[in-house]
Symmetry: D2
Subunit: 157 residues, 4 copies
């Protein structure tokens, strides 16, 4: 199983959506199973990309209604945990790709780092791990760079 | 999304495995996405059945290793929650089909009932909901009966 | 830390409440920290008993409002997990005392057994663990018997 | 119930410990129930402070052993969720006080902000909420300022 989680804002401008979609396409082409939060914005755009390449994209939803996810998901898991489902999104992937976003995305990215996972970020904010055992926070400039790094790092681990 | 969860023992005799496999086949034929605990026994047998009909079966794993699941899963979600992942399995489906099992299965079935979901049981134990708002516990004798009931009830809700 | 969890129905007759209250009193006298689901019925009655003996009783709440718990709790933890907080109640105690209840209580008791914990039951239903590694399900007739067993078993582990 | 969560690094220099201890003292004096992650560093120092003023401090532990917490806790809840217990620490308090720390603390602080809670930070990093519904991130220079703000904001909500 090559699980990659993609996290990011639920309200994003078209250029960010285009980045997420391209990330989705490239991950699906490479054979990854993609996990996301299942809702709008980056979560929807990445799902569009994955489906364009006939990949598998699974949404981990905050609520209890499986139909609350975006319509591009291959499958949706209603957790009923509220935003605490963020931690499950971070745990689902061997590597996490973060695209923009606000505090929800930061909670997922920093949690992944705490658990020793690499977070590859296409976006503006920085998180600086400073403790032994924490994962690496790596900036990528393009979807291609982010996905290549993700596959490389997932392969090492 | 038509999510059905299938729960049951991790160590089962061949005849129970055959039941789980047939349940998996019938759910996949009917277009359901099947959720299970991702490990051995009923969880593996139902996955075999789902894949025989080219369906989608997702394992919600207790540990953090995505490769700890059985090899028939379409996708595996490592949760790191230990057996507390049981409640996620119960929440994932609109209806839960229970096939045999011990206390782990009972925890999932009774939790689903607490949340108002119908549990269709092919097996020996009984749970008797006695409070308003709890779901129904229905016995089925065959995989066919269980799956027909599951689709009917999921359609009503 | 000697944590004991007490679980049971949210709507109970006076005689069941009296049992829970006596369990609470005896646990507090013995120096246990008592965990419960924080709401009404057995959860409230056990809290009354604990406070009568100046003990510590902590409610693990399903919602996000700390004030939704009963007024006898020493502290209330709002989890926002819904009934999935049941698993936390079961995990909090070294031993679990179950007093009556319906599917919610069964989900907690069976989950505790799955995790290898002893469940001491004053009530009508039976759970029969049948797998290696599962805890023991023991019936007690009186609060005294239940609490003595709980302290004895917690001391062994 | 006036619950305040205090989060921060598990390895801190003496001056940070002194800050956490003073925060604990002032919260206990003001009648708050203090929640923390239950381990070392800020979690232990705040507990020392709370106990010096005879307050109540509850540790929400990542593991399953109630005795893994620091010895100053009034009560310890073993969750078995690993670092996913971070979200429970963030949910437990009406307001969160963050003292230094690395990615674990950032995951708790950003999660609290996502859920609309105010985070009062005595430390070096910044989180900038940029979405409607997110909580406020406020910097405080001293324990006195942080605790006064915490009580004031908890009272408003």
């Amino acid at each position: 199983m090559l699980n990659i989680s993609v996290i990011g804002g639920s309200e994003v401008p078209p250029e960010t959506c285009a980045i997420a979609r391209e990330v989705g396409r490239l991950l699906a082409k490479g054979g990854a199973t993609v996990f996301c939060g299942g809702l709008s914005g980056v979560m929807e755009c990445v799902a569009i990309g994955v489906r364009e390449e006939n990949g598998l994209v699974i949404g981990i939803l905050p609520g209890t209604d499986p139909d609350a996810g975006n319509k591009y998901l291959s499958a949706a898991i209603p957790t009923g945990l509220g935003y605490a489902r963020n931690f499950l999104v971070a745990r689902a992937g061997k590597v996490v790709i973060a695209i923009d976003g606000s505090t929800g995305t930061i909670s997922e990215a920093s949690f992944a780092l705490t658990e020793g996972k690499t977070v590859i970020s296409i976006g503006s904010y920085e998180i600086t791990p400073n403790k032994k055992g924490e994962g690496r926070f790596i900036k990528a400039r393009t979807p291609q760079e982010a996905v290549e790094l993700a596959f490389q790092i997932a392969g090492e681990e």
